[in-house]
Every structure is written in C-alpha cells, then in structure tokens.
C-alpha cells in the first residue's frame, strides 16, 4: 500500500501529459527537477506488426501507478518518447517501466499478471498451462481505480521491463529498443526478468544506463528487423504430360516474411481457440499455383512415383445430381484418362499425399505457410479471402467452389440440383485467386492437407514453437487442413477456418498442394 498523494504526483509527472506541459520549448521553463527522457523505438514493421505502445509505470516495489496505451501507427511516430520526473528535488526516484509494442486490437482481458513461460514439456495436445486469474496487481488510489480492462496479448507483444533511476537536478535520456526477436516472450514482472534481444530468453532487469544527450533521434529503426529473405529459387514452369496434357504444376515464389499467424475471422469457429495469434517468421518458399491435379498425379506415377496407397479410383462420371451410392462416386481419380485430368486429386491418404510432395522435392505446406499465402501475401494487411473481400462479406458462388452439395444445408451453389461435386481447377481460377501471387483454389474446391498435426493453437504443441517456421510437428492420426471443400455451405467458407481430417481415411473433400524451398 502507498499514500495516494505520492501516487498522484507521479501520475502527473509521467509522460508529456497536459498536466505537465513539459514538451519542446517549455521544458526549459520548468524548475530543474531530475528527469529521464525515455526514447522508445522498435525494429518491427509499423503498422503491420506494431501499431500501439503500452506504457505501465510501477514503483521499484512494484506498486502500479499508471498505464497509458497509445496508437503509434506510422513509422514517423517512432521513436516514441516521454519523460519521468522526480517529484521533488531532494530524493532519487526509482521506477520500473513496462513497455509493450503490439498490433492494434491484439488484447486480452486483464485478469492479473498470469505470467507463463514457453512450455518445454507436457502432452503436445493438452492446453498449455495458464496460471489462474488473480486480478492483481491493480492501479488503485483511495478515490478511484484506473486499472485497464485489457492488456496486450503476450503472444503478439514485445514486452520489456526497464528499471530507471531519476536523480534530483539531473537531466538525461534512456534509449530503449523493443527488439523483434522478443515478440511473444512475456516479461516476468514478479521476478523482474525480461527479453532484451534473444527470443525466449529473459535476463534480470538492471538499472538502465542513461546519457546526457537529450536530443530526439529523427529516424526510427522500424522495419529493420531482419527476416525478409528473398525467394531466389527458380519456380517450376507449367509442365505437360507426354501426350500434351497440362499438369497445372507451376509454382510461385514467396519471399520470406514475418506475419501475424491466426486470424480474427477464425475467432470462435474451430473446435478450440482458432484466434490465438502468434508472430511467425517464414523463410522463402515456392508453392504450387494449383492444387495437385489428377493428371499431375498420373504423370508422377509414369515417372516413378510409387505411393503407399493409390487415390480411390472412380471410373464413373461424378453424379451431378448428387445421388451417391458411396463417397467414392465423388472421387476424381480414374484408372485411365477420362475428362477429369484437370480436377484436383482427392480421396488420398495423408501418407500418400505427403509422399507425393516429397517425391516432387518438397513437402506439404505448413499451416503458417498456407495462411500467409491465402490471407496476407501480396497485400499490405490481412484480408478475409485470397482475393481480398471485406469483413462480414462472404464468398459468392462465382468466386469460389463451395456449396455444391446435395442437401438443403449445403447446396447454395447447386440450386438446380445438377451441379453437385468437384470441378476442374480451371473453375477456381475464375475467381478464387490470391492477390499478388495468383495462387488458385485456396478458398474452395478441396480442403488442402498440411504438414501439421491438428492441434488447437492454445496447446503445448503450438506454445512450444519458435518464431521461425512454426509448425505442429507431431505424429497424430488427426492432421490439419485449410480451405473449404466443394460441399461446405457459405457460412463455413473462409480460409481462416482451421480444419482437420483423419490421416488414413481418404475423402473427396480433401486434396493437396506442395511447397519447396525458396533458396
């Protein structure tokens, strides 16, 4: 507990608030109180990853005084700066600052510190341990409470503790860089450890050195965090089978990136917690422009690919009226060439699909790679659909292949009852094309197998992942897929939706595309 009077003094003295007109020329007119000018910069991209700064001030004994949360949405808003003053000219002041840089909107309810380090053990598919809510500490004076109701979500925030000593009559500055490597490494307020420059590494907070130079830098380091490696490999050009059948096997090159993995449009939709976001760094890669087609699979067999199990074979036409004797009647693969060579291959097991991509020199995409291409690559901000779209605006039957089921709940794009089932990848190319890269069929057509085991994003498997190239690499019968299939109704058609499928049960709704290294 503390006296409210001293608490108020510090509140008034922190930052260039209207209470203390302390900025610019008027600084010179202030009495010579001790001051530390805190200059905060980040090397993260602004505003894509960092667009707000949260500043919390505690006493050296961890009594929480004040909290400010400020939009800093332009590179020119950085470095941000504010001053901490001593309340009188006789004694030193020691404060603990907590600085958090994070993207707009990425907050959770404040229910106490709930510090949780990255898990290292435990069932990969169990939820990562979260300390129970304590609702402590709080900002309380005798008169009123100003504890914020939310705080930056730890997985998307750079979280830094700084200890400052302000000496009477001395003016100096402290320069803090909120380092990109520290995003997702939560500071431990109780034990005063914090990430400074190395991911998942907390060091004890020491008194921050200050310098006499009070000049503000004119440039920011925003955007200099080194992750954007160019894709230097040569993407495969469109190939043809021996008889001239197009294989739809061309690739596009994706530069390395850093992005927010997880999406608001997935919020509350999957089995558990689709919206728990994290920052992911991806090295450059190449990705197939189209889903792997029947013709491409057949061509691979001719050239020596030997899968553990063949795709389910269906030598009959797909019944367009949707009267099925079995799911196999929806499968596109045929013994001999029919009119479905340009259909996405489906009805394959996970092992065969992955073997196909590995035989082609790569692998299945990770979920993070897939989401980046579908929702983020080639545009300044995440969009709900590969072609862009807007919140609250679903896909239409012209834009993607979905709603082609036979039941009233899933036939919205099969109203005449004669358009059941899968179609050529060329149909997806009419609308379901990603911005920038031009990748086809990620919204609809078939759901696409991923390299990851299926696990909610709040599990140990995901919480253990590093920033660079995260994926849930566990043996499991349930595998992840993304993208809707032709049978799903519009209310389920959005690429943020996380899905799963059993590894050894082929389905006409699940297909694949492959990735290869980009270097």
């Amino acid at each position: 507990m503390r006296s409210p009077a001293s608490g108020f003094a510090l509140v008034a003295l922190v930052a260039c608030t209207a209470v203390t007109p302390a900025c610019g020329p008027s600084v010179k007119e202030l009495p010579p109180l001790g001051e530390v000018l805190v200059i905060v910069d980040t090397d993260m991209p602004v505003p894509r990853i960092v667009s707000r700064l949260r500043v919390d001030v505690y006493t050296a004994q961890h009594t929480w005084y004040v909290s400010r949360d400020i939009p800093r949405t332009r590179t020119s808003d950085w470095p941000a700066s504010f001053s901490v003053y001593v309340p009188d000219d006789t004694r030193e002041l020691e404060v603990l600052l907590r600085l958090r840089a994070y993207p707009q909107g990425e907050v959770r309810d404040y229910r106490g510190e709930r510090f949780a380090p990255r898990p290292t053990t435990g069932d990969p598919f169990a939820p990562a341990p979260v300390p129970p809510p304590t609702d402590q500490p709080r900002i309380v004076s005798d008169e009123f409470e100003t504890t914020p109701t939310t705080e930056p979500t730890p997985s998307t925030a750079i979280d830094r503790l700084v200890r400052l000593r302000v000496k009477p009559g001395v003016r100096s500055s402290a320069r803090i860089l909120l380092h990109g490597s520290c995003v997702g490494t939560m500071a431990d307020l109780a034990n005063e450890t914090t990430c400074i420059e190395t991911e998942d590494e907390r060091v004890s907070v020491k008194e921050e050195p200050t310098v006499a130079d009070m000049t503000l830098p004119t440039t920011s380091r925003a955007g200099t965090f080194d992750f954007a490696k160019p894709c230097t490999a040569t993407p495969r050009a469109a190939g043809f089978a021996a008889d001239g059948t197009p294989l739809y096997d061309e690739e596009v090159c994706v530069d390395g990136t850093l992005f927010v993995f997880g999406s608001n449009t997935g919020f509350g939709h999957a089995e558990v917690d689709a919206a728990q976001k994290r920052i992911a760094i991806l090295p450059p890669f190449r990705i197939d422009r189209y889903e792997v087609t029947v013709g491409r699979w057949r061509d691979a067999l001719a050239r020596g690919f030997w899968p553990t199990a063949s795709p389910v074979i269906n030598d009959e036409p797909i019944p367009r009226d949707g009267t099925l004797s079995s799911d196999g009647r929806s499968c596109p693969y045929t013994t001999r060439r029919m009119d479905r060579e340009d259909y996405p291959v489906a009805c394959v097991t996970y092992a065969s699909a992955r073997a196909f991509c590995q035989w082609s020199g790569g692998d299945l995409p990770t979920e993070a790679q897939w989401e980046y291409v579908a929702m983020e690559a080639g545009r300044p901000f995440e969009t709900p659909f590969p072609w862009g779209g807007a919140p609250g605006l679903g896909a239409t039957c012209e834009q993607a292949i979905y709603g082609r089921g036979a039941l009233p709940i899933n036939n919205e794009c099969n109203k005449d009852g004669q358009h059941y089932g899968l179609v050529s990848v060329r149909e997806s190319a009419k609308g379901d094309v990603s911005l920038g890269l031009g990748v086809v069929g990620m919204t609809g057509s078939v759901s696409e197998m991923l390299r990851d085991a299926y696990a909610p994003l709040d599990t140990n498997c995901w919480h253990r992942q590093p920033l660079a190239f995260p994926f849930c690499n566990e043996p499991a019968k349930l595998r992840s897929s993304r993208g809707a299939s032709f049978t799903l109704p519009g209310s389920s058609v959005f690429p943020a939706r996380r899905m799963m499928f059993p590894a050894d049960i082929p389905s006409s709704e699940v297909g694949l595309r492959c990735v290869r290294s980009g270097t």
């Binding site: 610019g24 008027s26 309810d109």
Partner: protein, 462 residues
C-alpha cells in the same frame, strides 16, 4: 519561401500528442491559425482522471488540411491524435496551421472516430465518424488568429461540409468545453418499480454493430456501427424457466423422456406436469409464444438493440465479460455431440449424453453485474428471441446512423418476414456468442436451442 509554408498541423505544447514531443518543435507562433476542436461526445478519461461513468464513444481525431483548389491534403498536413478528457476537457485541443498569407480557400477536414472501427489501413469507418469540413479564413503575417470547430454527436455518420462546400468556422477560441455533455450518453437509472426477478439496466449510449468484430459471419449479419441511445429498462435476470412458463403454456412440444437425442424434441425442457427440468430455461417455443408470455407478465421481448447492449456489457464488448474467447466453464456453449447432434462441432461435449441446456447461471463469466442484480446467460445457454423483425444492415430499419430505442417492425425486402434471435446456445460454437452476431429466421420455428427472457419499461409512461 512563404508560399511553401502552408502546412503545419501540429499540436501545441499542451495539446494532443501525449507521448511524443516531436510535433511541438514544429509549432509556429506568428502568422498562423489556431484551430480549436471541441465536442459534446464522451471521450476516454485522461491519465490520473477519475474514470467516467459514461461510456467513451470516440478516441481519435484526424485533421487534414487542403490547400486552395486541391482535394488532396498538402504534404505533412494530415495528423492524428489520441483524444481524452484532459485534452478536450481543458480546452487544449488546438492545432497550429500556417497557410500562405492572405490566401483564402484553405479547408480543414476534422474527423473524430473510434480506433476499434477503423479499417486495417487506419481509415476511419464513415458510419461512426463525426466529420466536419471547415473553410479556413485567411491570415496575415503578424496575427495569430483563433478559430474553433465543434463536432456534434448528432451529426455522426453525416458529414458536415465538404471540400467543395465547406462550412464556416466559429471565430475565436473556446470559452468552455462541452465534452461529455451530450444527453444521450448519460447513464440513466430506472425510475419505475422493479418487476419480480428483473434487474435494472441503466440507460446510455453504445455502438451497436462492429465492422471489425471477430469471427466470420455471412453478409448482413453484423451491423455496421450504429450509435444507439437506450432508455433504462428492466430485464429478467435469466432465461424464462419451465416452472415460470408453465401456467402460460400453449400447445407445447414435450420432452420425450429420451435422453439419447434421437429426435430434436428430446432436448425440449417443457413438461406439462412438473418434471425434471423445472428450473431449466424453457426452449422449443415460437416467437409468438415467447412474446405472448412476456406480454402476459406485463412486459415484452427485448429489442435487438437492448439485447446487444447487455450482451456487450453495456460498453460494446465482444462478450458480457470482455473479449477473451471462452473456455468451457466460462459460458454454456459447444455442448452438443450426442444423438442427432453427434456431428456438431463441439468443443465442450459432455462425457455423457444428452448435452443440453443448463440451469441458469452455469457459465462463470457469462454474467453481467449491475447495481441491482446480475443478468446471466446473455451469451450462451439459449438463443433468445428478440422483438424486432429482421432487416439487413442496408435496409430501412438500420439506415440511420443514430438511433433512439430502435425497434424494427418492417419486413426485410431481401429476406422476407423473419424474426430475430440473439445470443449463442448450448450446442453451437463460440463465434455465435459474439454480441454483435444476429440471426434472422422464421418465428414459427421452435427449437431446442432457443428460449427467451422479458423486459419491462423502467421509465414511467413508456
């Protein structure tokens, strides 16, 4: 050189940029316009200020200055600031603008908006922005001219002035700030006696709808932000139970006695004679049955606006408790998975059948504490019928940007005559519990996922 000086938009030493001090260095003192900004809207409390009892409606100000005959701002002439009660309440929201001397035709566009509704690009959402474009008077080389612009809440979503036809500024500095004085925003207590089992919901203003609401919903299901003023009302603390409903029951679907869920009616809670579900909420009721009950007890169903107001914790939260995605103990949802619902997405599927509606108040965070009591199960347990007819966002009922106690009675031209339910239910996913999610459906469709609660007026004569 002077001609090139037409630019600075910077806050003065005491003004808006609260953390960064960089802007102040550019302030010029002579030959400039000082533009003061004021509003009657409630804004967030400043640091050290007592938290307001009134919900803040705006938190950001953007100013663009346009040179004569140009419809793009001059370079460096766009600026944005966080606003709060310290800045506005002390008349300190001012901008120095240094146009070319003795030149008419400069205009300033001043927009006040809510950061949460802005597009990813930072562009304000037009429906929820107060947008005033003013003509700036010429200045000469020696004077500092003070002018002011007022941003009235009543003009939200309806721009005043345009670049082609700007409105005049008021001459002189502000003599007082009117921040927070808009009557619609005031918390108003109930003035009538409380019906039994009802809780007073104080009146106030909130944003209904949110373009950036999390979760994916089909077109038209989430409203663009509409500023809504709600009069105080009384609301049932919980969804109406079987015990209370029985004496008003009309021909009812009955609980079949099976708990396997072989038919949808197996999850209906009503029994003609007192049975195992007495204190569970009643479900399997049509819109008319639900409304009939509420009228019989002297009230009515809540309006969509009333329901979203409480479901968002009176402040436009995602859920009654805030914005965390729920766990299975936080609210009653995702509990299907048995019988005919075996294939449902079910994060909270119970270990044994049937998986069904819970007694009131089981969700530990699905509650809203108010001065005279607590409302429970606003997000989960049962969908709840509301009084309105369904209208899409772009249809007549919701076209205005500011509403007072809205109630939609017209049929949707696109979707026909549909009733509306709000809130999520025991069998569905968490996304359906988001406060801004709405659902239009036939009012005659009674199902095991939908129940209701009632409201009563709390202002005499209304």
């Amino acid at each position: 050189m002077r001609a090139l000086r037409h630019l600075i938009v910077g806050s003065l030493a005491t003004a808006l940029a609260v953390v960064s001090c960089k802007d102040e260095e550019r302030v010029v003192t002579e030959g400039q316009l000082l533009l003061y900004v004021d509003t009657d809207a409630p804004v967030p409390s400043g640091p050290g200020q007592r938290p307001s009892t009134v919900t803040p409606l705006f938190d950001r100000l953007r100013i663009d200055v346009f040179p004569p005959a140009s419809d793009t701002p001059c370079p460096g002439c766009t600026n944005e600031f966080e606003i709060n009660g310290l800045v506005l309440g002390q008349k300190k929201a001012s901008f120095g603008i240094a146009p070319a001397f003795e030149t008419a035709g400069y205009r300033a566009r001043v927009r006040m908006f809510k950061t949460d509704f802005a597009a990813a690009t930072g562009e304000p959402n037009a429906d929820s922005t107060i947008d005033v474009t003013v003509a700036l008077p010429p200045v000469d080389a020696t004077n500092k001219r003070e002018v002011s612009v007022f941003l009235p809440v009543e003009s939200v979503g309806q721009p005043r002035g345009s670049l082609a036809d700007p409105v005049p500024v008021a001459d002189g500095a502000l003599d007082r700030s009117r921040v927070g004085s808009w009557p619609g925003a005031q918390r108003v207590d109930c003035a009538a006696p409380a019906p039994e089992g009802a809780v007073c919901v104080p009146g106030g203003a909130y944003w209904m709808g949110n373009p950036n609401a999390p979760g994916f919903t089909p077109a038209g299901y989430v409203l663009q932000p509409r500023l809504v003023v709600i009069s105080p009302f009384y609301m049932s603390a919980n969804e109406v139970t079987v015990r209370r409903f029985r004496r008003f029951a009309v021909a009812q679907k009955r609980w079949t006695g099976s708990s396997a869920g072989s038919t949808a009616a197996d999850w209906c809670t009503f029994t003609a004679e007192p049975g195992p579900w007495e204190d569970h909420p009643v479900n399997c009721v049509t819109f008319e049955e639900a409304r009939g009950y509420c009228k019989a007890v002297g009230g009515d169903l809540p309006t969509e606006a009333q329901f979203e107001y409480v479901q968002g914790g009176l402040v436009g939260n995602v859920f009654p408790w805030g914005r965390d995605e729920p766990t299975c103990t936080d609210a009653v949802y995702g509990r299907a998975g048995w019988g005919t619902l075996a294939t449902a997405l079910s994060p909270c599927k119970p270990a044994v059948p049937p998986g069904s509606v819970a007694k009131p108040g089981e969700g530990v965070r699905d509650r809203l504490d108010l001065p005279t009591g607590t409302l429970v199960d606003l997000a989960g347990n049962l969908n709840e019928w509301v009084r309105d007819r369904w209208n899409r966002i772009d249809e007549a009922c919701w076209s205005a940007k500011l509403h007072h106690d809205p109630f939609c009675e017209t049929t949707s031209p696109s979707d026909g005559n549909l009733a509306v339910h709000r809130g999520g239910n025991w069998s569905d996913i968490a996304a359906r519990m988001i406060a801004t999610t709405r659902f239009g459906r036939s009012g005659t469709q009674a199902d095991a996922q939908t129940g209701f609660r009632c409201v009563w007026p709390a202002v005499p004569g209304r």
